[in-house]
């Protein structure tokens, strides 16, 4: 009989309310990886909105339950099967359609594993494969930007938004950042300035002052990045330079994305959308994707990309963490899956 090890895993056996259908179970994992596989000890994995949608059965790509949750994370190779390109101690993540992160241990095929630089702090490593690449692709693949060019974005305090700010700074672009108003707005602005934002406005402030502001900068933004939708998409796309591009990566407001006739017809803007998972899997983008992953890791090692603020929780506290994630009033929840990880956070 094959030797196994026990692993606690957060599993859903049917689609439904994540607060109800997610259960912490003990599963058996083969103790020895086969040829070209690794036994990975998972260290940390965030709760993303995507995870909630998946458990609810609302995500486009549906995997039939039972399924182990999670959409990104970081782990450590503890045993490498024969012929594996990884060695014990390597930090890794999964990049495939099926991403079982919320388990203490897992056997993963080499072809689904991506090596992460061991120098990257674990909280950043756990959130490196979705948001920073989304920002990187949007900044690099739609418009040819020069140093000093302006980029405008809404949802500037989201994971993608913060990556956009940091990458703009790294590339030498100027970022104009729109956030929703909130009680602690000055603290938020200070935080975004700290990570490199050039300009931060609430939606209302920008509505009132954009005319003057746009006159004060050398040229209008060539690129608008939209994670919100509704009138917020309209707001940022309406100030683009002639022929500029608006790239949408999300619709946090759950409202359709709005664009004016004037922007589309007379200002000749282009509107695009990107989903990093689909982009990365397109044959023609493979080389670019590998380069992107290399680049975001380089920026992470250099401290040019930093982790977003997250609350660390154990898998055992999943009900509370999921509840907080669904309410959307707390900072992102990060599962610390193996306590050996804690010292590195």
């Amino acid at each position: 009989m094959q030797k196994t090890i026990q692993s606690h895993a957060l599993i859903y056996k049917k689609f439904g309310d994540p607060r109800e259908v997610l259960e912490l179970e003990t599963i058996q994992i083969p103790a020895e990886p086969s040829k070209g596989e690794c036994l990975v000890q998972w260290l940390a994995s965030p709760i993303n909105p995507l995870d909630i949608n998946r458990v609810q059965g609302n995500y486009a790509l549906k995997t039939k339950p039972p399924v182990i949750g999670g959409s990104e994370g970081v782990g450590k190779v503890i045993k490498a099967g024969s012929g594996s390109r990884f060695k014990v101690g390597d930090h890794v993540t999964i990049f495939s359609a099926e991403t079982p992160f919320w388990t203490e241990n897992g056997i993963v095929d080499d072809k689904d594993l991506v090596q992460l630089d061991n120098r990257i702090p674990l909280d950043l490593a756990a959130t490196l494969m979705i948001n920073p690449p989304t920002a990187w692709i949007m900044l690099q693949k739609y418009v040819k930007l020069e140093k000093g060019d302006y980029v405008i974005q809404n949802s500037a305090n989201s994971g993608v938004g913060r990556s956009v700010i940091e990458l703009c700074k790294a590339f030498g672009y100027k970022s104009i950042n729109i956030v929703r108003s909130r009680p602690n707005i000055e603290a938020l602005k200070t935080d975004l300035w700290r990570i490199g934002a050039d300009h931060v406005f609430t939606e209302e402030e920008f509505k009132q002052t954009s005319k003057e502001f746009l006159k004060s900068i050398k040229s209008r933004p060539k690129l608008a990045l939209n994670g919100v939708g509704g009138k917020s998409a309209l707001q940022i796309s309406s100030v683009l330079e002639r022929g500029g591009t608006c790239v949408t990566y999300g619709g946090m407001s759950k409202k359709a994305h709005e664009f004016t006739t004037s922007a589309l017809v007379f200002n000749d803007i282009q509107v695009r959308g990107v989903a990093v998972g689909m982009w990365a899997r397109r044959e023609e983008n493979l080389d670019e994707w590998n380069y992107c992953v290399e680049q975001v890791q380089k920026f992470a090692v250099e401290g040019k990309l930093t982790s977003i603020p997250m609350e660390k929780v154990s898998l055992a506290d999943h009900k509370k963490a999921i509840q907080k994630s669904m309410e959307g009033k707390s900072i992102k929840q990060l599962f610390i899956i193996n306590s050996s990880a804690t010292s590195r956070l």
Copy 2:
């Protein structure tokens, strides 16, 4: 003293309500064109929504009054200046930023004149330089379509919409046409089928039956053409094939154009806009524009492009005609400027 001829012209001396500020005046025109100019007798010119906006001062390109109205039309060269490339009797139109059509006679520089094939019926010739080229550009310049491919559009009964139907038929594309519901809907459908529409739905019908309908056709539309905005843009862009394109040419609903996150992010559609006047004047499009004008004239001569239904009115009846145009409940109004034109209509 220079010899002049008298000409009745519809002029506005200040921006304002077109029913009030437009006045029929008698102006003096040089009787002899100078070198490289023509004396043109204008025959017919429609009232376009653009004309209303211009008189109101609501159009992007503002010419300081006094201005002679009109944005497209057809005339006949009655005297050609020395060195002009035109000869007496040639049918012509103007393609420039300033387009004084609503006058019996005018002196026009050769470089602003475009020759129209004399075989084209005058009502069609008077409306050939905006709507058919808009349709042509949208069908030819954004997506590579093959014979049998589907195109979906809203506002299918508009001038552009009808050109789209006829050009789709001429090119061998299949058109899916959405119109607003109205009392005489079956008569409208019959009319659109007559000019070549493959499928005609009201917005409500398409909402209810699109799922079944889309299953019944060999592939989803690659191109959506949007002249309406609001939820109608969302409706036609949501059924595009993966990677399809939605081109906007107008916003008749006066609502912002809406697109879903799913269409933009997961279905990877592109959203573009076009204004034919600006498109045609771009350096890189000049050859294409000349080819487009040649093509729409060829289709017009062959009867593949036909005139939209219009009500013929004299310049003297301008108040009633403008009133009808502004209410938007009547068919398009066409000024018959010189009675010599009438026999050709």
